[in-house]
């Protein structure tokens, strides 16, 4: 929290990291989202990080049940939700305990002291009450009886149970924080009206809770300071907030529109990919057909079938589900039909950490299929970038007539950032051609386009092009079953060639920072924000370092090797045990340094900064 000049009663800040934390039942995700919306509308750059437990409702008051939502607000461009917390709202002792390691030294701590009962302290693992034993001295603690204050504020509303009343206390907290940061209450009030419209009592209750919070800040003298964060200088335009999963859903629908193709989405629910299904299921009026399959194999099979039928077919899952799809995906590869598979990665192996983020499915995406089975692999690097990557995935799939793997992760999927609403009419259409019968010409389903290496996408219903495809070895051109050695070798080469030919439309990899120098920090996927921020800080410190984020993992951009060669060292931070590093070494034979973290959490900027300093040498 960089402190600035004081205007009136407001202290001006560059940016602030606020974290709402409480029991899963406390509505912290909602509170954080509302505060984020209000801040976005106020013009700040934002970046959020929701962090919820794996259980639906872990036992109240336990560490396992803590649900957090972190938002970074800034008057300049930011790329991560922030390394550590400036303001923590802790609804109970467990929330406090869970977040203590991440708090800055003069962090503002707003604590619901009503929840600091003996029982709750014990569940959180506190021997003593930290509000009393002095252990929080280095923070600016505001201990408030939120529950009771809120009860008082709502006491005369009829027809509400105690439980219902208490459930609104998050809005009290929200009101208080909105007051502190001078955020407008209107968006939240509107939301309350929309959400609870059918129950006047609940509208009243939540409205009152919010206002009570605002007024509490206003009227008590507990808080000496209020803060303001100026609007960020984002590019002119209309903005909304977007999560990676929303962006994927919208990107897919957009790809369909750009190709004049209906979207078929076959999927089986799994955290953290399910929201794509939820988002798309609500878009029937876009002609989107969502199919909740009986499992991931069925989802993949249906996707292949729909692709054969001529739809823009997509499926998505997370680690365990993607593993299950492997065999049917490979059929899609052998049939050479366009389709997209999205992996919203989570902590592995096995069931692992369903609600935590990781980048450890990269090698599975590249190699997790039997036989020589190359597929394009793309990685989105920010929530908004998921939108573009979804469109690009279909562009690639159509061009190379093959499934495309799109990698996202739990962090991208759930966190949000401002997104400038684009003009659909300016987007490049995706050209799809379906052949029709040419009189007197034999139809050759595996004849290849010399430019792209793709094969014709002839769809059922087209007269004269009846043909059969399958997963067995094939003869070139006809696609008839063939076990001949030279046919097998040829088909394997052809399939590799069309993937390689995608480099013709892959832009050269570029860097942020010097075109050559001591160090290039290269990432892929959601490490983008942390890497970019860390590198620009190090640049400011005088280090000769540039950053670059790989979107095209297979095939790699043509200039990548040359680019990497321009730096003395290349550092690859990954939320895995060095999978991209291994891949690039194997593929290009280059030397790279690997920075690995597998904790279920995104990188802190600081961690990468440290690694940069270390690698270049302290005395840059």
């Amino acid at each position: 929290m960089t402190t600035g000049t004081v205007t009136e009663e407001f202290k001006e800040l560059d940016s602030v990291v606020v974290r709402f934390s409480g029991d899963s039942g406390d509505g912290m995700q909602l509170t954080g989202t509302q505060f984020t919306n209000a801040s976005a509308i106020a013009g700040n750059d934002i970046s959020t990080f929701p962090d919820f437990p794996a259980e639906i409702r872990a036992p109240a008051g336990t560490l396992a049940g803590v649900s957090g939502f972190q938002v970074n607000l800034s008057s300049h461009e930011i790329f991560t939700p922030g390394d550590s917390t400036d303001v923590l709202v802790a609804m109970n002792p467990a929330a406090l305990a869970a977040n203590l390691p991440d708090l800055k030294d003069d962090c503002i701590l707003i604590v619901n002291e009503d929840a600091f009962s003996r029982a709750n302290l014990k569940k959180a693992g506190f021997a003593e009450n930290p509000l009393e034993d002095g252990s929080l001295e280095r923070f600016r603690v505001f201990s408030i009886g939120l529950t009771n204050l809120n009860r008082l504020a709502l006491e005369d509303i009829e027809g509400l149970t105690q439980k219902e009343i208490d459930r609104t206390k998050n809005f009290f907290a929200l009101g208080l924080i909105c007051w502190m940061y001078d955020r407008p209450a209107e968006p939240t009030l509107e939301w309350i009206n929309k959400k609870f419209g059918k129950s006047p009592q609940l509208v009243e209750a939540n409205t009152r809770a919010l206002k009570a919070g605002l007024h509490f800040g206003e009227t008590t003298e507990t808080f000496q300071l209020r803060f303001r964060i100026k609007a960020a200088k984002l590019k002119d335009g209309i903005y909304r907030k977007i999560t990676g999963n929303e962006a994927l859903a919208m990107g897919l629908v957009t790809a369909g529109k750009l190709a004049d193709k209906p979207i078929f989405y076959g999927s089986y629910p799994i955290t953290p990919a399910s929201d794509i299904l939820h988002n798309l299921a609500a878009l029937r009026h876009f002609g989107v057909r969502t199919f909740q399959a009986e499992d991931e194999i069925a989802a993949m099979g249906a996707t292949v079938g729909a692709a054969f039928g001529g739809a823009f077919a997509v499926t998505a899952s997370s680690g365990p589900g993607v593993a299950l799809k492997s065999e049917a995906l490979n059929l899609g590869l052998a049939l050479e039909l366009p389709m997209v598979l999205i992996d919203v990665q989570r902590g592995g192996p096995s069931t692992g950490l369903p609600t935590k983020t990781e980048q450890s499915d990269l090698l599975m995406a590249l190699f997790g299929r039997n036989g020589e089975a190359p597929l394009p692999v793309l990685a989105a690097c920010s929530p908004g970038d998921c939108f573009n990557t979804a469109i690009e995935a279909f562009r690639f799939a159509v061009r190379a007539s093959c499934p495309v793997m799109l990698l996202s992760d739990g962090y991208l999927g759930n966190s949000s950032e401002p997104w400038q609403i684009p003009d659909p009419s300016k987007m490049e259409p995706i050209k799809v051609e379906h052949p029709t019968q040419v009189e007197g010409e034999e139809f050759l389903p595996y004849a290849r386009d010399p430019e792209t290496g793709g094969r014709p996408w002839a769809i059922p219903g087209t007269k004269g092009l009846e043909h059969r495809v399958g997963g067995l070895g094939k003869a070139p051109l006809t696609g008839n079953v063939s076990y001949r050695p030279e046919h097998h070798q040829q088909m394997i080469q052809d399939r590799q060639a069309k993937i390689d030919k995608l480099t013709d439309i892959i832009p050269d990899q570029t860097v942020r920072g010097p075109e050559s120098g001591d160090l290039l920090v290269m990432g892929w996927g959601s490490t983008y924000g942390a890497i970019r921020a860390a590198v620009s800080r190090c640049q400011a410190e005088g280090y000769s370092v540039a950053s670059t984020q790989l979107r095209y993992i297979c095939p790699l951009p043509k200039n990548l090797e040359e680019l990497m060669g321009r730096y003395k060292k290349v550092l690859i931070p990954e939320m895995n045990c060095g999978q991209l590093a291994f891949y690039l070494r194997g593929k290009l034979g280059v030397e790279v340094e690997s920075l690995q973290q597998v904790t279920g959490r995104p990188f802190k900027i600081e961690t990468i900064q440290e690694a940069i300093r270390e690698l270049i040498g302290k005395g840059a």
Binding site: H285, A302, A306, A307, G310, P460
Partner: protein
């Protein structure tokens, strides 16, 4: 492509449905007969052949699509119903067949079979039941009898067989039938009825694998054993036997065999909603009982595609054809630059975005 009749063009013939590929089953395999009846039946559907797709899994039986001059997918083991589902949802105008074996459909693919049936997706599933894994050279399958000695059960199988019809019925299938490779006419009629059914239809075809399980169905396919068959017909009594002298009667809630006259006849009705009789019939095992063939169940229910398409239409009626900008704007928005105020008017807003 909504009309599926071939107006004005000559009716197709069996030959139109034969592809140019050599048929590669063992000489004597029951699959040939099924192929022939399918090719003979299809012209009756009066559909352009480009609107027909055969989807199969893996197995001897699953080579079927290669021999059909229609669209086709020889997919992977057990998953044909899933491909067929996606295909049919992507293009509800197609006539989609699923060709599968007892291993393909009931072993690795059992779950997909259940789900395509319960969803009532309008596909016709034909299961070639030879009670053996043919393609992998003779291991017992989920329909092999207990005690069956095969390559993988040298001391005899210790498994209870599944009954494909019971499974299909329990999976809420709206059309369930059984026929036999060598009963050519019956087979052709059964396939036709199945193909004409709106919704998921399921046909078990008893098929001989003369290489690895020869004679699995001799008790009903040998000439001298025909009397062991019971031909189910809607509105008819459940009679069988050399002279049609035997009939089935309800006992408790099971069935028993009696000899008898016409009174008290149990009249068969495949459209009976509960399917309880159909199920009871499916439980009959030889030699205590005859082997019923024909249509066990045939009821009307909305198909999955209809449900899907009507949701699409209703959503479009209510919200209009989706517009991308509306989608992007379906959330709180704010403006950066200019006066910082988002135009209230929708058109003005769109103009601002699209310039």
């Amino acid at each position: 492509m909504t009309s599926a009749t071939q107006n004005g063009t000559a009716k197709l013939t069996r030959k139109d449905f034969a592809s140019d590929q050599d048929v590669r089953w063992c000489p004597g395999c029951g699959d040939y007969a099924i192929l022939a009846q399918m090719q003979k039946m299809l012209p009756e559907l009066d559909l352009p052949k480009e609107n027909i797709v055969f989807v199969s899994g893996i197995g001897c039986s699953s080579r079927f699509p290669y021999y059909m001059n229609t669209y086709g997918i020889h997919s992977i083991h057990g998953r044909a119903p899933t491909l067929a589902s996606g295909l049919k949802l992507a293009n509800p105008d197609l006539k989609v067949f699923v060709i599968t074996g007892d291993g393909d459909a009931l072993s690795i693919g059992g779950n997909h079979l259940m789900h395509v049936l319960r969803r009532n997706i309008d596909v016709t599933v034909v299961l070639f039941n030879n009670r053996i894994y043919g393609l992998t050279k003779g291991q017992f399958s989920p329909t092999s009898l207990t005690g069956h000695v095969t390559k993988s059960s040298p001391l005899g199988s210790i498994e209870q067989p599944l009954n494909p019809l019971s499974v299909a019925l329990a999976a809420e299938a709206t059309f369930v039938a059984r026929s036999i490779d060598v009963e050519t006419k019956h087979l052709q009629e059964t396939l036709l009825a199945a193909a004409q059914h709106k919704g998921a239809s399921f046909v078990e075809v008893l098929q001989n694998c003369n290489i690895f399980n020869d004679g699995a169905w001799h008790h009903v396919t040998k000439k001298e054993n025909k009397h062991n068959l019971l031909f189910l017909e809607a509105g008819k009594a459940l009679r069988f036997g050399e002279e049609n002298e035997k009939q089935l009667k309800v006992e408790g809630l099971g069935l028993s065999v009696v000899e008898g006259s016409e009174k008290d006849e149990l009249i068969f009705d495949p459209t009976e909603p509960s399917g309880a009789l159909a199920y009871a019939l499916s439980r009959m095992t030889f030699p205590e009982f005859p082997v019923p063939v024909g249509i066990f169940r045939q009821v009307k229910k909305p198909t999955y595609e209809q449900g899907m398409e009507s949701q699409v239409q209703q959503a479009q009626k209510k919200k209009g054809q989706g517009e991308l900008l509306d989608l992007y704007l379906s959330s709180d928005i704010w403006k950066v630059g200019g006066d910082g105020k988002v135009p209230e008017d929708r058109e003005a807003l769109k103009k601002e975005i699209c310039g």
